[in-house]
Symmetry: C2
Subunit: 335 residues, 2 copies
């Protein structure tokens, strides 16, 4: 098993990527390939003591920046750490790729470099958000496809269901449609039609979920178009960050508040870490013909190591083959 890391991608590159790779080699005993500026990477790796046999550095000369236009960057920066890493998966040299770089570019690279699985119309990005029961909930699609057809939502459901079983270890993931009410027949045209189709697919479809209940562990997977998924995720994130800010402000506004906050310091840190979704590893891009994991842009070494572990489970669990099997079954049922 080989996992490839886009060495230069992410806000804390290459440091976090290198430290995450070292810790993954130590903890999981796997082989890591890393792409990027060889000199810089070698210097960074020289800080650590680990089994050098398990590391391969592939020199690349370009970097895709956050400001780059995704499709253009993938097409023009052929020797970037991201494109080369994706190509190693495409060519079968590595089993999965981890990148904390430009999200749009990774989505475009998934499509144009790795390629779609035949029979899947649109790949989806599946980030996980923490819920109040200290578990997590997958959003499929979390933002790859702004406009969707009912068929796309059905594929998102099937693919994320496989991922939840094989990578997250859930035996019978609950799958729900993001909607404005829980009753059947609610919502816009897209979700009404998708609801009908989801009833006929072999998965644990529990119906609709309202956005306010997502955090209450109502479901393991939320199916929606990528526009809705983005709104859902970002709205939750914005409020969580703001409430922490307000708390801080409130606590610092009086001596009594400061004293109280001092006593609660450890508890507040726990709360903050719960709400920090960067801790929950990366988001898989499902539906492309290889393992592609998007790590959060601000990933620290722990997030990178967690994302590598996701890549390992993705490969070991044969997620790709299961998705291909779904395509066959789904096609047969349509005929």
């Amino acid at each position: 098993m080989r996992i490839v890391i886009d060495g230069m991608g992410g806000d804390n590159a290459p440091q976090s990527n290198v430290e995450g790779a070292v810790n993954a080699i130590k903890e999981y005993g796997i082989n890591i390939v890393i792409t990027g500026d060889k000199e810089i990477l070698e210097k960074e790796f020289s800080k650590y003591d680990f089994d050098k046999e398990k590391l391969e550095i592939i020199h690349t000369t370009e970097i895709i920046e956050n400001e780059d236009k995704p499709v253009k960057a993938i097409r023009s920066k052929k020797d970037s750490s991201m494109v080369v890493a994706l190509r190693l998966v495409k060519e079968g040299y590595a089993d999965a790729v981890i990148s904390a770089g430009n999200t749009g570019a990774l989505l475009a690279g998934g499509l144009f470099v790795v390629g779609r699985i035949k029979g899947i119309d649109r790949p989806c990005l599946c980030p996980a958000i923490p819920n109040a029961k200290k578990g997590m909930t997958l959003i499929a699609d979390g933002g790859a496809n702004a406009d969707c057809k009912p068929r796309n939502l059905v594929e998102f459901a099937a693919m994320s269901n496989i991922y939840a079983k094989k990578v997250l270890g859930l035996s019978n993931p609950r799958v729900a449609l993001a909607n404005v009410g829980i009753e059947e027949g609610k919502g816009n045209d897209l979700v009404k039609k998708a609801y009908e189709e989801l009833k006929n697919i072999d998965l644990n479809f529990i119906g609709n979920v309202e956005a306010r209940d997502v955090i209450n562990d109502y479901t393991d997977i939320i199916v929606c178009d990528g526009f809705t998924g983005n709104i859902l995720l970002k709205s939750a994130e914005g409020v969580a960050i703001s409430v922490m800010g307000l708390l801080k402000e409130t606590f610092l506004s009086s001596t009594k508040g400061k004293l109280g906050a001092m006593l609660l310091k450890d508890d507040l840190r726990k709360l903050k870490s719960f709400m920090d979704y960067a801790e929950y590893g990366g988001a898989p891009l499902l539906g492309v013909n290889g393992g592609v994991i998007k790590a959060h842009g601000s990933s620290d070494s722990r997030a990178i190591k967690n994302a590598i572990n996701q890549g390992i489970k993705f490969a070991k669990g044969n997620v790709l083959q299961d998705i291909k099997d779904f395509v066959v079954v789904n096609k047969e049922s349509e005929e």
Copy 2:
């Protein structure tokens, strides 16, 4: 000026409605008409000392419950407190109606009893959510229309802009489109087309806003389809409630936590009240030919009084006439 209150609508009916009406009579000196069971309402009003000349009770025999199917309820319960209240606005006897009852029924009643303003394709519901700068942000549409055309979003923008000026007193409201990124050209087909049209309308259009920034006072008005508006609102609400729950749990889990929480009791109460959007009064239904304000289902007397004040400002500000003027100008610019 006369404001009519659906006396039997809401979780705390009729108590909160009656107390809110009494306080509005005292504070604003206006005439209140209230619909509902006369005997029950008279008994409730007898608890208060106020100018009885300013109150009129109109007896009704039916109540629309939260469980009732909206359209069916409006059509079959003709003598309900809600339908009769709406009719009083339709007939011009009252200037605006306040209801804390079944939201779907009020939307249906707005359309079928009060009727649309000619030239407005779809009315929208405009709830306000608190932002972290202690102001509020209007969501247009907050849930009335699951499927929208670009034209609808333009109308939502124009109508909520008028409301923000006349009722909220903003001189030049900022209007933004809910989107997955701030750059022009982002998003689904609907928002891309709406963006183009909004550039050509006479209002302070500031472009796109991401859901994570809504709470940061980025804009005064967020324009979106009702499906997106519902997801945005409910996701924020769910997280805010959950975080408060987690805080409570965290604080009660240790002696130190309990001590700290005791010191912070007043501050936490302030924070909770900030996040309680019921405090921010009601949501207007814009685009129907009369003032219709939806108060939160769990409204207390203060929320009802605030909603009555919104109704007064709605009528005094000639919001309806301004919307009709927009229709004329907009039509001319299309010709």
